[in-house]
Symmetry: C2
Subunit: 497 residues, 2 copies
């Protein structure tokens, strides 16, 4: 037996156990490679990766150390008696091997994998293996199975509501934060809309990052229910809600490996919405050569997949294929995007028109879920709500109710990227813009990002600013500068002038 | 700037940097997920995963901690001034995404990935993504490209030797340790045979584990060259040699995720042999329904693949398809396998005949690489060398020269698994036997494993022992017992009696 010690290290979602090299109870000198151990003594065994130290200030030979993640899970006081053994492989790992070999997995097999992930039986490495293996192909039935498995057991209940709406964009278009404007319009109209969002996975800002600039997004289930009851609208980071536990673990690994497969993303989005108790969902699938979805054919396949899963799980879905050829709005990065959103809600003359129009269009589609509204009237109703200032009022109520956030500072290290010729902006490459923004520090710091002063179709003169880089640290600034000179993502057609 | 501190934790091949939550130089409270950082101050930037602590005994706010792996790499004294920044993604990671999407990669792309892995620009998660993504399919050119990339820059030179031979088994057959017997026979004959082997990846014992029971296998390049010069034979764990650095990193990740794709294994084996300076190689491809390679067709494809890569890289290969339908010998696990090997070398009457015959057959194939030997005489020469005791003498010389190992104890927790009916053993499932052995502690402890007292074709009576489990810890023993009752891997044909 060993004495439990809390080693106050946070390892981002990975359970770690620390054992002294002269451990009195577990022989470690034969161990040559990464090893998963099982710690007994709490209510349930806790699984952790083993790390070895010979520093008694970290753990003594008669101690077992657990990092923050594992210590929280074992839920015992320091000094408690625990024992440690080699963990057998997670029961579902052979299923992952079958997927690597190209097999189609059953619903029970997806459930077994997701259960093991929630039980922390998978290391992050195991999760990455599963994601990459299943990412190469999944049938529609497999996506359905994975969606069901990801929902988990806890679903938010909206008693007395016949419809609960939400919007989700498939992503790949920098700056697209219509979600926040839509929520304000729908809340002002009066449909219950608990928007569940997340922080950036691979983009410069997730909806939770951008709305997090304006208000607190880490709200719990009771508060979310109360907010929607009182104000109809609310925007919460789903991480703060007790839903879709497996998805939280999986998406951290996805973020680290830097990519998300479309079918995983579909399963993840639908699972979160179903766990949030949504009944009616508009899904936005932007298509563009540098968007996540590259062609209309691909978008059609994805739409049918999402509709199939929605039908099987009783989620009413309106999947809309939209233009994803260039960034939406001017700001890319949380602070700059929040500025654009507030300009639209405040009916400012310099508000980005593409962001405004897309918000009205999507809000219109959601409003038409309301049986009381005549077909085709959604857009006009949305426009009236925005123009009248009722959407702004709803937004201000939401910000006040969720708690105003301390405004983060906009990156003070700036550089203007200028046109090298007169002409017309012919295209802006989403992926390149995203990459420059990420290197500038967006995704890490809300105040970092790009301000796109010119958009497709705009005339520019030589020397005129196309966009401005904002960074907070000199390293990020240097990274962004090092890639922007090779290719700034803009194509200027000189003949068009 | 921060002061460097050595945090004496070993994390099995992953560089880790520890920063205090109130770090004076790097703001960490916005960090919500796994982050890779770049540490400056040494000759080269060092890349590490970030972990955060609020315990000043681990690191103070003005310190940057590095674990054993990263501290060794930065090669600076404690207290040195270092700085830390967010690391940009490894340049070759987009190539991995292209592989996930199903593309064929070029030789330059494989080289870029392997270079980044050696430079520690990939976390273990990134490596797992690459392995699983490329594991789903690779063309022959891709396997060639990966092999070349894995060889690396350091190749052992065998001056004054016209041929340098080795043997490698593709695996999947428990107990197959012909490698050690072959080495003794070839050394006695006089061909230079520096066998490079590894510890168990997914089996109960690697050749390095089994020979490690008899002698020290961690020998360096100078010693290996000296041993082969003096004794012609030697068996070294390739991990102790300065070759194939990328493969060492990659195979630790493979071991953790618990599987190896055939094409990776081919690239890995050939790269190690080429880096070890081998000119002539016998590759053994065992085929059986529960072996790694399941069908003769599959084995033929693999043979052609290996021959193609060998031809392109000037390695003479004799690829032999063998019977992998049941375990070889009686022992499964390092100590028990070493016992079998010594019985064969000592010409004991109870030596396992299948191990003996396979060793002679394979040694014969290797001997025939010698231009001086008449075609078809290899087997007879090998048999004469073994029967005369010259192989045993060569083995004893090798053990003495490499350094005798302290004999590890055989697992004292034992259980006999008995036949439930009279009959004839019809089949023994390799994968099941391997699984029971692994759970019994083999792969972790040399003394754990299974002793197979009955083999295919043997008559058994009800209650007679089929095999014996040996464990060293009660947990391992319990694991093995928990699976053996469901399916012990033996099929008994009752009618055959």
């Amino acid at each position: 037996m060993l004495n439990l010690k809390h080693v106050a290290i946070s390892s981002f979602n990975e359970n770690v156990a620390y054992v002294h090299s002269d451990c009195s109870a577990y022989k470690v000198d034969d161990i040559k490679t990464m090893t998963k151990v099982e710690i007994h003594g709490g209510m349930q065994p806790v699984y952790a990766l083993l790390e070895i130290t010979d520093d008694p200030k970290i753990v003594k030979p008669n101690e077992l150390g657990l990092n923050n993640e594992a210590f929280r899970q074992i839920n015992l006081p320091e000094g408690a008696n625990v024992s440690v053994t080699l963990a057998p492989p997670a029961p579902s790992l052979p299923i992952v091997k079958r997927k690597v070999a190209g097999n189609i997995l059953s619903a029970n097999e997806y459930a077994a994998i997701i259960n093991d992930i929630v039980a922390k039986r998978y290391s992050n490495l195991d999760i990455a293996s599963f994601l990459v293996a299943s990412g190469s192909f999944m049938t529609a039935s497999e996506v359905l199975a994975m969606t069901e498995a990801l929902i988990g057991e806890d679903v938010i209940r909206w008693d007395n509501e016949s419809i609960v709406v939400d919007y989700h964009c498939f992503g790949g278009v920098p700056g697209n934060k219509v979600d926040i404007i839509i929520n304000a319009i729908i809340a002002a109209y009066g449909l219950p809309m608990p928007t569940t969002c997340s922080r950036s996975l691979t983009s410069c800002a997730g909806v939770a990052d951008t709305f997090g600039v304006l208000a607190n997004v880490d709200i719990d289930e009771d508060k979310l229910i109360k907010l929607v009851k009182e104000n109809r609208g609310a925007i919460a980071c789903y991480e703060s809600l007790p839903i879709a536990a497996a998805n939280k673990i999986v998406s951290k690994v996805e973020r680290h490996i830097g990519f998300t497969q479309q079918q995983h993303l579909a399963a993840s989005i639908l699972a979160i919405k179903l766990a949030a108790g949504i009944t009616h969902l508009v899904v936005d699938i932007p298509v563009g050569p540098n968007s996540r979805v590259k062609s209309t054919n691909e978008a059609m396949r994805l739409r049918k997949l999402i509709e199939y899963v929605g039908d099987m799980l009783s989620l009413e879905i309106d999947a809309v294929i939209t233009d994803g050829s260039e960034p939406i709005g001017n700001g890319v990065g949380a602070v700059l995007e929040a500025r654009d959103v507030m300009k639209v809600l405040r009916n400012k003359p310099d508000a980005p028109q593409d962001l405004l129009e897309k918000s009205l269009f999507m809000a219109g589609r959601i409003l038409e879920f309301d049986p009381k509204l005549r077909g085709g009237q959604g857009y006009a109703v949305a426009k009236e709500i925005l123009n009248s200032g009722r959407a702004l009022e709803a937004m201000n109520r939401a910000i006040y109710a969720q708690g105003k956030a301390p405004q983060p500072q906009l990156g003070h290290l700036t550089r203007d990227i200028v046109a090298t010729t007169d002409g017309v902006v012919e295209s802006i490459n989403n992926e390149r813009i995203n990459k420059i923004g990420i290197l500038a520090g967006a995704g890490q710091y809300p105040g970092a990002g790009l301000d796109l002063l010119k958009k497709v179709g705009d005339r520019v003169e030589q020397g005129e600013t196309l966009f401005r880089i904002h960074s907070l640290t000199s390293t990020d600034f240097a990274y962004a500068n090092s890639v922007v000179d090779g290719n700034n993502g803009y194509e200027i057609n000189a003949k068009g002038y």
